[in-house]
């Protein structure tokens, strides 16, 4: 039986190895924080971290996660950068419908973990794969800058 390391815990999975992580984690394990948006890696709603890098879980089969650490929106608040991102999202009132926001938070956290002080261009490059149909992009940018400031304050 396949198993995955999800948010620091090992979960046994009775599912075929080619099932995308998105469906394995949502339907089989029952963690629904990660959202389905397109099934083709086009919208970023299903973004998770695999060994710290953002992945589109709708295209990533269970088999690709063997021996890797998966973090989802349910676990990202344990990470200090992830927590700063979530707090900044609330402070700046980013969400409208909110459906894409778990994916946006995961992409933004991955960005800030590799670059704690991104400029607007770097933010656009990192976030271009995440669609928000409500159009919260300008607030997302502001929230990323806000989280960046908090991270920098914290490291002083």
């Amino acid at each position: 039986m396949a198993s995955i390391n999800l948010n620091g815990r090992i979960h046994e999975l009775g599912a075929p190895d080619d099932m995308p992580l998105l469906w394995a984690i949502r339907d089989v394990l029952g963690f629904t924080g990660t959202k389905f948006g397109c099934g083709m890696g086009l919208c970023g709603s299903c973004t998770m971290h695999m060994n710290g890098s953002p992945i589109r879980s709708c295209l990533t089969p269970i088999s690709a996660a063997h021996g890797k650490k998966i973090i989802t929106i349910e676990g990202i608040g344990e990470d200090s950068v992830g927590k700063h991102v979530q707090d900044a999202w609330v402070k700046k009132g980013v969400p409208q419908c909110g459906y894409c926001q778990p994916g946006q938070v995961m992409s933004a956290t991955a960005l800030l973990k590799s670059n704690s002080d991104p400029n607007d261009q770097e933010i656009e490059n990192a976030m271009v794969g995440n669609i928000c149909r409500c159009g919260t992009y300008n607030r997302i940018k502001k929230a990323i800058h806000n989280a960046s400031d908090k991270i920098k304050e914290g490291s002083k």
Binding site: G33, F36, N130, I131
Partner: protein, 764 residues
């Protein structure tokens, strides 16, 4: 005492009239008859009371006080990103003088007999519920006061609310709302005459620019519960293969390979409605499985033969020619002023232009999804529905249970934009629940399903002609609009735009032009047409606002100056005088078309954007303004077009006059989102048809705005005129001015006039 329940009686009567008009909302009653005289004879009420289910002001329906001090607000409007759950809660909190952190929101089930109208569309939630919810809360506050008075044996008039407590000025006593909660059961609902609304100068939340949300903390941690997040043990997952062409039916199928897919449980035919299909499913074949992935794999393995359909030959290229031809010939006259022929005969200059706008898919990030269980003769469903009562009616019918035995729970909506006011996806879940009694079944639409089987935004050809005198004044105005109508999903042979579509920016053009004619040549629909955020305002405003910029150029005048001259003196136009008996369902005496407010709105946007200032080379500004949903919104864009056609939006300036802004932060966020959605519509989005089917099927070919297209700077300015008490809509009116503002800005940079959307590669 009685007046609180008056509307309840009315709503019960309306509820009993559960015919097919019902799903249309109040607009339907006027729309299908398209006869204002009839409407007046029926004494249709305006605003909230005029909606099916009306308005309820009973605090016992909408508020609950818990002994730990929590105040629960029942939200009967669906949350789809407009922030209504938080906004209604802050209205209640202010009127109660409650602590924000003690406010809790509970989502109502679909039940218009209890809650009043719940159809969350038409940018109506705050407009229709602001005062009812205030009165509800003020009534509850009076009851808390009376309870405290009784408790202490002092006159109620000497007791004042202060921060979640009642205080007795005379004796230094205070008692918390939590303690008073237990005493409320003994309190009668006071006479409305004794209930006094809070003085607006004392507001702490209403109209204050702060970010308050009851949902955001959950949303950013993955705990927001959307349609697909409702789970049951032993539940089933389904996807549906639907007919590729509107009007086609399943003739035969082979499910042998699908059934061999690991995890597939059963293949179930879904009955489809014949066109016009209203809010019913298209029919097809459901693959039911132990998880979504297995269901999708199973569907891929199906072999289905579909019947031919009258819409098999629907082809967007030839349809565009058909619409264009129709728009060049006289059509059904919908409004005439003066003598157009005369105006053109004596014109110094004339100008003509044709505009084309394609179908759009709503493409909410959450595709349609619903879950249902049929157990012991009762149906319970969970759905991200904009129209929960209509969904309940339809789901009950399909499951073969009564309305009373059906519960429709409303989850958060992962976007709606009009798509989720139609219940076809909920009905599919109800049908599958019937097939698997006792088990929860979820129907999940994939993105491909969502785009191919949407209730699409209409496609349109807009033809305009104008005459100018030697001074550049507009003397004649002809606007012909050709577009398949939303009416076509409700009744056969509907070829003309309905009153509510014409009332969205064509018939009510508020211009000071002595000779005008508006026409609507007919055209058949070949796909499901539905409400899309801002609806027919999008094509009408696009054509009108681009055309005005062209006329200004023709007249050799500045766009803003030309527009203000076209608008003429400040005046309040009764919509009935423009032939608009619909008027967004609002009282034409209160909600006039106010050219002074239009003027101030565009002037505000122009001023904030620095209209007329020198821009760096390669950049230009464009503007547009539009009145819709009884609000006024202007947009000024400052854009750059690079060699090769790359478009950069540097500055976007949005100005809105929606009367009072109850939750300014959410007004801003709606204007920000409208700007982004407007840019999507203008630049890349299009659904087109070939051989009866949609060509686009996911975000690679149905492209929507991503972060790089967002304006580098986006500001929103709220006008809030002091002399306006009435509320306007917010969710929709921001969209229409954005595409024409962009086209006008591109013209300022390149000299090129784009009249066909999307822009696509026209800048290359």
């Amino acid at each position: 005492m009685k007046s609180l329940y008056q509307n309840f009686e009315v709503s019960k009567r309306i509820l009993d009239r559960r015919d097919f008009l019902k799903g249309l909302g109040a607009t339907g009653a006027v729309m299908l008859t398209a006869n204002w005289t009839w409407a007046k004879e029926q004494e249709i009420k305006y605003g909230g009371p005029g909606m099916p289910g009306g308005v309820i002001e009973d605090p016992k329906v909408y508020l609950r006080f818990l002994s730990d001090g929590t105040v629960v607000v029942i939200c009967a409007r669906s949350e789809m990103g407009q922030g209504i759950r938080s906004s209604l809660a802050l209205v209640v909190a202010d009127e109660l003088d409650a602590d924000w952190d003690k406010m809790q929101v509970e989502q109502a089930v679909g039940d218009q007999g209890v809650y009043g109208n719940q159809n969350t569309d038409g940018s109506r939630s705050m407009r229709h519920w602001y005062l009812p919810m205030r009165r509800c809360a003020a009534t509850a506050r009076t009851m808390l006061q009376n309870a405290a008075a009784k408790h202490w044996g002092v006159p109620a008039g000497e007791i004042k609310p202060y921060r979640h407590k009642m205080a007795y000025a005379g004796g230094g006593k205070e008692i918390s709302y939590g303690k008073l909660a237990r005493m409320l059961d003994d309190q009668d609902i006071p006479d409305p005459g004794t209930v006094i609304l809070k003085d607006s100068s004392k507001f702490r939340f209403i109209g204050k620019d702060q970010t308050l949300s009851v949902d955001n903390t959950n949303i950013v941690s993955g705990k927001g519960m959307y349609g697909a997040d409702i789970r049951f043990d032993d539940m089933l997952y389904a996807v549906v293969a639907r007919p590729p062409v509107y009007g086609s039916k399943m003739e035969s199928y082979d499910d042998s390979a699908a059934l061999k897919v690991s995890g597939v449980v059963k293949v179930v035919p879904i009955e489809g409605a014949t066109a016009p299909s209203e809010f019913n499913p298209l029919g097809g074949l459901a693959v039911v499985a132990e998880n979504t992935w297995a269901a999708i794999q199973g569907r891929n393995a199906l072999k289905v033969a579909w019947s031919s359909s009258p819409n098999d030959s629907y082809d967007s290229d030839s349809y565009r020619n058909e619409m264009n031809t129709a728009s060049h010939n006289p059509g059904k006259v919908i409004r005439t002023v003066g003598d157009l022929d005369n105006a053109f005969a004596s014109a110094a200059k004339t100008h003509t232009a044709d505009y084309y706008l394609p179908h759009h898919a709503h493409a909410p990030m959450e595709p349609p999804v619903a879950l249902a269980i049929l157990k012991d003769g009762k149906l319970e469903a969970w759905a991200p529905s904009q129209n929960p009562d209509s969904s309940r009616v339809k789901a009950a019918e399909r499951a073969g249970v009564s309305y009373e035995d059906t519960t429709l729970n409303v989850t958060l909506l992962g976007g709606g934009f009009g798509r989720k006011s139609k219940s076809d996806y909920v009905v599919e879940a109800a049908e599958l629940a019937k097939t698997f009694p006792g088990r929860a079944v979820r129907v999940q639409w994939t993105r491909e399903d969502d785009i191919a089987h949407d209730y699409l935004h209409t496609v349109s050809s807009e033809h305009l002609e104008a005459s100018l005198d030697k001074d550049g004044n507009t003397t004649g105005w002809l606007h012909r609009s050709v577009a398949p109508t939303i009416g076509s999903i409700f009744a056969p042979a509907q070829r003309h735009q309905q009153a509510f579509e014409l009332g969205m920016g064509i018939i009510n053009a508020p211009f000071n032009v002595p000779n005008m004619q508006m026409e609507n040549p007919g055209v058949d629909a070949h796909a499901r047409i539905g409400w899309f955020r801002a609806v027919s305002n999008i094509p009408h405003a696009f054509a009108v606002q681009c055309f005005i910029a062209e006329l200004a150029e023709k007249a050799g005048q500045d766009h803003l100056e030309f527009y203000l001259n076209l608008l003429g003196p400040d005046r309040k136009i009764n919509p009935l005088d423009q032939g608009d008996g619909w008027n967004h369902g609002e009282d034409p005496e209160i909600y006039t078309v106010n050219t002074g407010r239009l003027k101030k709105t565009i002037q505000k946007a122009a001023k904030e954007a620095g209209w007329g200032r020198q821009l760096p080379k390669g950049r230009g500004m464009g503007m547009a303004v539009h009145y819709s949903f009884v609000s006024y919104v202007a947009c000024v864009l400052d854009v750059e077009v690079k060699n090769g056609g790359e478009l950069i939006v540097h500055n976007a300036t949005m100005a809105i006059d929606c009367g009072k802004a109850i939750n300014p932060d959410r007004v801003r966020s709606q204007m920000e989102g409208s700007c982004i959605m407007g840019l999507s519509l203008a630049t890349t989005s299009e659904v087109s048809f070939k051989n009866g089917s949609a060509i686009q099927n996911n975000f690679h070919n149905y492209q929507v705005a991503r972060m790089p297209l967002a304006p580098k700077s986006l500001s929103v300015h709220i006008l809030e005129p002091e002399d306006v008490e009435s509320l306007g809509g917010v969710g929709e009116p921001g969209v229409p001015p954005v595409p024409p503002a962009l086209i006008n800005a591109i013209h300022a940079v390149t000299g090129k006039r784009i009249r066909q959307l999307p822009i696509g590669n026209q800048l290359a």
